[in-house]
Amino acid sequence: MSDEQRFLDRLAERNAQRGDEPTWIAARRQAGAARFEALGFPHRRIEEWKYTNVRDIARGDFALATDADFSPATAAALTLPLDAYRLTFVDGVFAPALSDLGSLPEGVQVMPLSRALEENHEAVGGPLGRLTGVDFSSFAALNTAFMEEGAVVRLAPRTVVDKPIVLQFLSRAGQQEVMSHPRILVEAGGRSEATLIEHHVGDAEAANFTNLVEEIILERGAILSHYKLQEAPLKDRHIASIHVEQARDSRYVSFNLNLGGGLVRNDLVSDLNGEGAEAIYNGLFYGQGRQHVDNHTLVNHNAPRTFSRENYKGILDDRAHGVFNGKVIVKRDSQQIEADQSNANLLLSDRAEIDTKPELEIYADDVKCAHGATTGQLDEEAVFALRTRGIDEQTARGLLTLAFAGEVMDRVDLDAVSERVELTVAGKLPERFNLAGLVETASAFNEG
């Protein structure tokens, strides 16, 4: 039996258990399955997957979770300490007991996909799959075949959401490895404003497969800050396809923070379709052990006077492997574009590897584009300055490595997120850096 067939058999089992569903869903499910079967899992001869081997997923035998049982105490320890509207999913299954929507302000809808389908499936059917269709990748096709849960966020025009919206995905350790195919749909009306935090975390021993598809539609002037804090267990596989459609004067700010997962692939795409639209991509990835973290980004400048800025930083230790592929396409006659891209990486071990590739395709002439990639060393002058204060060389290098990550986090407004990332990075840094006990100081000082 082929790897693909094993997944299709799982789908057939699941479909047999399903009740009636709207015909459009059944049709898309079928189209997803057919596309997945035709494409098969990506292999390394495909340019976009040249550096990322998905064999660990393809050879897996993943069940589908049927409940959302999770120790509330464990969940509480994993949850970001943040006053927020929160939806929690356990292995992809909605967990009402771990969710808290409080009283959502008028004009704001946040709900599990299953409920949105129950309430008005046609309203979901229109936008769902429009940006990320089954042709995007075999993983997107697979997601479409299995789609049943996820989150729908809708903001009425001019709504400003007072608290962050957190979508928390918990991965559970269990007898059998499971897969989930969450689907997130965000529709932000004109001039609405929100912060969305997607948090992937779980039991340290978990070894599951998450295959996420996320579609985000920003109407004219809408502003969305999107934090993706991926600190999944180190044996988890995490595939995410995020597609953002941006109308005139909209602004999308992404913080793509990847600290966990054994095999991670993020595809982040923005279509800048209206003048004044702006996409800001901030990324941080940290790999250790044999972690593999692949970030592919694509910004389509489809309209004149659109802007993109991208800054990804990677830290890789042990035998970790990082991939950064940032592509910018400026469409014919899209004049007065500004696109800026940089990727800087630190390798903490001789056996760590980074493959970084900026790609520019420009079909207009009045364009300001810059890109740069560095894989580097720490600032030796700073190392010296710290040593002249009595700090040993390794600790100095540790502090500067933490600072390297901190430069991405400096732009984060949410302390709960930046502190979590700082503590996690400090905790992951090699022991030789002696940072244990140092980092807690800052937050303790604020409290003290």
């Binding site: 300055a385 040593r387 502090l399 390297f404 140092l438 000082f445 604020n446």
Partner: protein, 250 residues
């Protein structure tokens, strides 16, 4: 406590210090003055261990230890601390981390335990207040985006927390307005003590109105050509350096 004997130093092949002798005893404040290009900054840079300076002969000992054999951090841990003329910006490293790591490194070198968090906070808050700095400085990256005056205050703040046995301050007065100068001078004066030494490297006498030295040395062309007390600094202020240069050439 510090003894520099017949020190010859070359930078990129040219000799900058040409047989410098200097002894600083406990409780003394020394000012090293001289015209631009005389090699004033070279001495403190060599003592701190900066790269690119080659000691071709001579010796530096601190409390009997051969400084040139010590690692950069060991020198600081032993109580030799350099305040930079141009403090380096270290993006992303919070001041509070630098202070704690540095203080604990010093304590570890003395065989002491790490400082308990409450004690550390109390100490740091007191020193920040003394330097008339806002506590928010501690959460900011070291010197990043600081004005010239803020950087200098920050250097002194580090000194106040680390309490060096010998503080070497390189042009600590440059770029300071008069108010900042007073704060910095108060900070430096608070470092004085029976068992402590201070070496001020400065071009101008102005600073010495606020931090009155016990000994003043004039460095010309890599050698100390004249030493005296605080009066010498005032004389230099009124007469300039030329007469010393001419006397030394004679």
């Amino acid at each position: 406590m510090l003894e520099v004997k017949d020190l010859h130093v070359t930078v990129e092949g040219s000799e900058i210090l040409k047989g410098l002798n200097l002894t600083i005893g406990a409780g003394e404040v020394h000012a090293l003055m001289g015209p631009n290009g005389a090699g004033k900054s070279t001495l403190s840079a060599v003592i701190a261990g900066k790269d690119g300076y080659e000691v071709t002969s001579g010796s530096i000992t601190f409390e009997g230890r051969d400084v040139l054999e010590m690692e950069i951090e060991e020198r600081a841990q032993a109580g030799l601390l350099l305040g930079f003329q141009y403090p380096v910006e270290i993006p992303g490293v919070k001041n509070i981390y630098l202070l704690k790591a540095a203080l604990n490194a010093q304590r570890a070198a003395r065989g002491e335990d790490e400082i308990p968090a409450p004690e550390f906070m109390k100490l740091v808050k007191e020193k920040v207040g003394f330097m008339k700095m806002d506590a928010s400085f501690l959460q900011r990256a070291v010197n990043e985006g600081f004005s010239g005056g803020e950087k200098k205050r920050n250097e002194i703040l580090q000194m106040l927390v680390l309490q060096p046995k010998l503080a070497m301050l390189d042009e600590i007065d440059s770029g300071l307005d008069i108010d900042a100068m007073k704060v910095v001078a108060d900070g430096v004066n608070s470092l004085r003590g029976e068992d402590k030494g201070i070496l001020l490297v400065t071009h101008y006498q102005r600073l010495l109105d606020y931090i009155v030295p016990d000994h003043v040395h004039v460095l010309v062309d890599g050698r100390i050509v004249k030493s005296g007390d605080a009066d010498l600094a005032r004389e230099l202020e009124s007469r300039g350096y030329d007469w010393v240069v001419e006397d030394s050439a004679a």
